[in-house]
Symmetry: C2
Subunit: 229 residues, 2 copies
């Protein structure tokens, strides 16, 4: 009998998490996707997550509203702060950083995993073509995994060891796109822009759009995204 493998997948609606979901499916996991509505300006991203979850046949897709906007401190959640459009500044953390976002997301994912009795969590973090957020680095995920196995009853009682999977962490954006295309990801369903128009068009100038454009260019495949510029 084939052993059942299950995983919780953090799904943002972007290119990276869609590819990560496809990789988990390809590895034989039944996938439980979780998407956070954290006061980000672009709820368009959440709609994209729903489309991707359907397209890649998740067993379940949970939307979790979480209040990060009330803390402020990020251009992604604070309307008073402008999303930068002039390209990345490699010397500093960008103002699109949402304080310890991945830590909060993973903590929720772990809570759900524990209730589901699932020991695998996939996150589409990337430490190559990325915006420089510290909670995207391998050492953060290693530390989180240790913490998770001290926090969760299922681990403490010896029923399993929680594993945080970061399958695309060392890939370039071009490699991520090529991998996803091989696994059947429809990138026209994904959304990356930090500052889309009300109609959902990508601005083409924010860090996230720049990385996305560069990725498709370097992968040598057409970019299905509609950009304003």
């Amino acid at each position: 009998m084939k052993q059942e493998k299950k995983a919780v997948i953090l799904l943002s609606g972007g290119l990276d998490s869609a590819t990560t979901l496809a990789i988990a499916r390809h590895q034989g996991y039944e996938c439980f996707a979780i998407t956070f509505q954290y006061g980000q300006r672009h709820s368009i991203e959440v709609e994209a997550a729903k489309r991707i979850a359907r397209s890649l046949k998740t067993a379940e897709h949970r939307l979790i509203p979480i209040d990060l906007a009330s803390f402020g401190g990020s251009a992604l959640t604070d309307p008073a702060m402008k999303v930068p459009k002039t390209g990345p500044d490699p010397s500093s953390i960008p103002i699109t950083y949402v304080p310890v976002r991945n830590l909060i997301f993973l903590s929720y994912a772990l809570a759900w995993a524990e209730v589901l009795k699932v020991f695998h969590i996939f996150i589409g973090a990337n430490a190559v073509d990325y915006s420089g957020y510290p909670d995207c680095r391998p050492e953060f995920f290693e530390a989180f995994q240790k913490t998770a196995n001290l926090a969760a009853v299922a681990a403490v009682e010896g029923k399993g060891i929680f594993q945080i999977h970061t399958p695309i962490i060392h890939m370039t954006k071009a490699e991520i796109i090529k991998t996803g295309l091989q696994l059947g990801v429809d990138y026209s369903l994904t959304h990356s822009c930090y500052d889309p128009t009300p109609q959902g068009l990508a601005c083409g100038l924010c860090d996230s759009c720049r990385l996305r454009k560069k990725g498709f260019r370097e992968a040598g495949v057409p970019d299905p995204t509609k950009y304003v510029s």
Copy 2:
């Protein structure tokens, strides 16, 4: 000039976190309290947190709604599960366990601390007279502190080191009560019961009531709580 010390304090409305807040104040910290509304049956606890925050003069008190109830898995958030009344079973984790609750709470506290530029977080966890939850043990807090310092920009940029303070972790309930009384905590403002009446009376039989009663008895001071039994 006296140096300004600031801390974020997790405040539940219970006896332990009220004492922890008083300790932080006594140590000279200006206190920013954070209370979570996580679908617990006893919103009476949140009202208690507000009274304590006022009484102990916090600089600010944030209430953060978080959706743990939708995951299920705990008698504290799931109305279909009964709160046990026959005393603790030391051989297993009780069904009042909310999956990785302290991990989620601390992650939010860290996000707020980062926005406030505060490097100290106090939590009233206790590993002596407690319910056996794994995320109340010192090794969990040590692991979380390491993770926090890898996740937060302020730490990665060398602006400070986040410290998780657990001042009552090795105290008995009686010691906690005696300490709090010395520091002026009014325990009639606090609420411990997992299953209060609609009028807010403590049941007197759940694990949390049992620990509270035992604490006052051993401390040799009157218990201001109104119990049903």
